[in-house]
Assembly symmetry: C2
Homo-oligomer: 86 residues x 2
């Protein structure tokens, strides 16, 4: 499954979430990770983030079972390491 | 079609992009908009953003033809006005 995770939190917590997410997903831009994971990995990521995120944070998880249903386009130059994967 | 737009740009440009995007989509969190649009509206949004965005900015467009293929989950309290739409 393909997942996109976006988060909104205070700076220090941003660093923690970034550290966890880069183990599983590609960093697209500030507070945006994406990539292909298994169902089990996805459950683990959500559990880790629930444990790691700050109280006033907000995280949105988008998942698409089959990547063929997702169209991805970009404008401008990517900071992240993502542009070659989809 | 359902679209998710995330952008990474300098502050002043962020304000401009936000102003344009809120005409068509829901604001989820900082630099993240989403919602249902027509193909024509989506083309218009991409054109407007190409004209409006700063040179060193980066925008990623995710689109899914049918919302039923997208699963959306949240952790924490949303700042935006999105939680009731999917």
């Amino acid at each position: 499954m393909y997942v996109i995770i976006v988060y909104d939190t205070e700076h220090d917590n941003c660093v923690k979430l970034h550290k966890q997410l880069k183990k599983y997903l590609f960093w697209n831009q500030n507070s945006v990770f994406e990539g292909t994971v298994t169902v089990a990995q996805y459950a683990k990521i959500k559990h880790i983030l629930e444990e790691t995120r700050a109280e006033n944070s907000h995280i949105t998880f988008y998942s698409i079972e089959n990547e063929k249903f997702l169209c991805r386009e970009e404008q401008g130059s990517a900071k992240g390491n993502i542009s070659n994967i989809l």
